[in-house]
Amino acid sequence: MPRINKLYPLVEREVMRLVKNPSALMLIGLLVAFSILLVLSRSDKKPKMACWIVYPDQVLAAPPQGSQALFIRQLTTRADQTQNIRVVPFSQVAQYRRQRVYPAMTCAIELLDLPTEDRSGLGVGYRYPGGKSEVLEPFLRWFWPIAMEHFSQVTVAERAPSISRPTTAAAMVMEKLQSGSISELMNEDLAAAILLLIIQFVTCCQLIVSFTSQDRERGTLTALALSPITMTELLQAKILFHLGLSAIGSAAIIAVLKPAALMNLSLWVTLMLLGLGLASVGMVIASLTRSQSSASLLALCYMLVGGVVFYLATKFSAFALVKLLSFEHYSFGMVYVSLQRPMPIGRALELGPMLLLVVLWLTTATVLFRRRGWR
C-alpha cells in the first residue's frame, strides 16, 4: 500500500519541477490555445443540414414508365430545385462493416420498400446525427407531400424512427484517420479527439520519459531510491502526477471545445486509462535507456512506429493484428464517441482489451523500473 506521507513530497517535487520548467507548461498551453482557435474559427452561421433520399438500386433497372421510377424521377427533379437534398441509390452510400455511413451534418430518408402494383406499402427508414430527430422535420415536410401525391393509396411504414445512430460511424473516422484521408470528415469533435490524444501523449509519455530519464542521468533517481521510499512508491508518484497533469490539460481542452462532455464519465475513464497506458510505456522507455536524448528519441520512434502500423493495418491484414495489440487503437474511437454522447455498450466493451493491454504495460514498467530503472 502506498504511504501518503511519502507520496506527497514526491508528487510535490514533480509539480515544482514542472513549474520551474515552463517549456512543458507552454506545450500544454499551446494545445489549449489550439482549442481556443478552433472555437474562435467557428462559423457564425449554423452549418446547414443536408438530407439524402436513398432508394433501392433495382429501381434503376425497372421500366422507366413504372410507378417507382417515375416517383424517383419526380423526387430528383424537385430536389434539384433545392440546395441541400440529394436523391441517390443505396449503392452510392459509403459502407463500413455492413453499415451505411453518411457525411457529417447529413440526415437520410431511406426508401426501403417502394409500392408496386401488387402491394401498396412504402417502407421508410430515417437516419439523423446526434440523436436529434427534429433535424429531419423540414425534409419530411418536403418529402411526404410528394410521396402522398404520387402514391394516392399508400400504407406507410416508418421503420426505426427512434434510431439515433450517428450518420458518421466512429470506426469509419478511425479508418479514414489512419489512411490519411481525414480532411473530408474533419469537424470539431474529431479535432477535439485528436487534441486530447496529443495531450495524453505529451503529458503522460513524452514528459514522463523526459523527466524520468533526466532524473536517471543526473543520478537523482538513485538518491531517491536510497531514501526510505520504495521503488513502487516512486513509480506511483510519477504516474499520479502525470495523470493529474493530463487530466488538467484534457479538462481545459474539453471545456473549450465540448463543455457538455465534461461530465461524461466514460470519456474520463477512457482518457485516464489511455494516460495510464502511455505513462507505463514512458516508464518502460525511461528504464531501458541510459540518457535523456536516447529516451526522447525512443519515445518519438514509438509514436512514429505506431502511426506506421496504423496506416499499414488499413492495407495489410497482418498489421491489423498488430494494431489490435495496441491500447491506443481502442482509445480513439471511445474518445471520439464519448465526446458526442454517452458511450454505447458495444463500444464500451472495447474497454476490456484496452484495460488488459494497459495492465500488461504497467506490469512491465513496474518490473523494469524496480529492477533497473533507478540505477
Binding site: 543526473r218 543520478g219 538513485t222 538518491a223 526510505p228 520504495t230 540505477r375
Partner: protein, 301 residues
C-alpha cells in the same frame, strides 16, 4: 516481562564497537572482467575507514554493492547485521551515501533539495537548517543548485546525507573540489560523526586526508585487497630511510636520492661524504603517499 533471574542487558564496550560492515569474499564481475576479487574486510561502528586504490581498483564497485545498487557475483555482505541485497529495504534507512558526482534536483534551491529529503525521511524541517549551517551553506540556501560551485554542490550532498543521522556514511571522494577551508570543515564533521558512533567509510585520493583522519585504511588494487591497517602501522611497516644528497662533480651540482637500507647506495653515500664533494644532505620524510605508491606499485608489478 523479564524474569527476575535474567540480568538486565548491559551495553558493553565490545558491543559498541561491533562490526557494522562485514564483507566476506566479495566478488563482483562485469562479464568476464572481475572488478572486485574475493575482498574480505570488516568495519566497526564509529570507525573512520579509508578505502584507497588507484583508478579502476574496484572502490566504487564495492560501494555500489554496499549501498545495494549492485548485487555481488559471489560472497557475503552484511550491514548492521542485515544481509545484502536480501534486506535492502531494512538497510536503506541506516546509511547515507555521498557519491563522487553530485545528483541534486538542479531546478531546486539548496534548501528545497534538503527539505525534500527531510520529508522523505520523516524528520523535522529544522534539521535542514542545522545541516545547512553545519556545512556553511545557509547564505546560499535559497539559490538554485545550478548556480552553485562544484564545492558547494559537494557540501550540499554531504548536508543531505547527514540529515537523518545515518548509522553508516559512505563517501566517495568527499573533499574533491573543496577549498582548503571547506576541506577542513568536512574533515572535522566526519571526525565528529565518527566520534558520535557513525561509521564513516570513505574513498579518497588525498593521502594527507587519510593520514590525518582515518582510523584504519584498506588499500585495494586490481580488485584485490592489498593491505588493511592503521595509517601509523602502515608507515612503521613500510617506511623507507632515504636521504637526498647534492654533490659537486666537474663543477656541476648534482642531486640524488639514496636508500639507506640498500648496501650499495649506503656505500655510495659514504663515498660522496668522504671525498668532500657533498654540498647538502637532507633526510627525506616518508609520506603515506609513498606507502600507497609502493604497495600499489608492487601489486601492479
Amino acid at each position: 516481562m523479564l524474569s527476575p533471574a535474567m540480568p538486565a542487558p548491559v551495553t558493553t564496550a565490545v558491543e559498541v564497537r561491533r562490526e557494522t560492515i562485514l564483507i566476506d569474499a566479495l566478488t563482483v564481475k562485469y562479464g568476464a572482467f572481475t572488478a572486485v576479487d574475493r575482498l574480505s574486510l570488516s568495519v566497526r561502528a564509529g570507525e573512520l575507514f579509508g578505502f584507497l586504490g588507484p583508478n579502476g581498483a574496484g572502490k566504487s564497485t564495492t560501494i555500489r554493492v554496499l549501498i545495494g545498487a549492485r548485487a555481488p557475483s559471489y560472497g557475503r555482505v552484511e550491514i548492521a547485521g542485515h544481509r545484502l541485497p536480501r534486506d535492502f529495504a531494512k538497510v536503506k534507512p541506516l546509511f547515507g551515501y555521498v557519491p563522487d558526482t553530485e545528483n541534486h534536483v538542479e531546478e531546486f534551491s539548496g534548501r528545497e533539495n534538503l527539505r525534500l529529503f527531510a520529508k522523505l525521511y520523516g524528520i523535522p524541517l529544522t534539521a535542514v537548517e542545522v545541516a545547512l549551517a553545519r556545512l556553511e551553506l545557509s547564505e546560499a540556501a535559497d539559490l538554485p543548485v545550478r548556480a552553485y560551485s562544484k564545492g558547494m554542490r559537494k557540501k550540499l550532498l554531504i548536508a543531505r546525507e547527514i540529515l537523518h543521522r545515518p548509522q553508516i556514511l559512505y563517501l566517495d571522494e568527499p573533499t574533491a573540489n573543496l577549498d582548503r577551508h571547506s576541506t577542513d570543515v568536512v574533515r572535522k564533521l566526519l571526525q565528529e560523526l565518527a566520534a558520535n558512533g557513525t561509521t564513516v567509510f570513505l574513498t579518497t585520493h588525498d593521502m594527507e586526508e587519510v593520514e590525518q583522519i582515518c582510523d584504519r585504511v584498506a588499500i585495494l588494487c586490481r580488485g584485490r585487497l592489498v593491505e588493511c591497517d592503521t595509517p601509523v602501522n602502515f608507515m612503521t611497516r613500510h617506511a623507507e630511510r632515504k636521504v637526498l644528497v647534492q654533490y659537486e662533480r666537474d663543477a656541476v651540482v648534482q642531486r640524488e636520492t639514496l636508500d639507506l637500507d640498500d648496501d650499495h647506495e649506503r656505500d655510495r653515500l659514504a663515498n660522496i661524504v668522504r671525498d668532500e664533494s657533498c654540498v647538502r644532505l637532507h633526510s627525506q620524510e616518508f609520506q603515506f603517499e609513498d606507502v600507497f605508491l609502493k604497495l600499489t606499485g608492487q601489486a601492479y608489478s
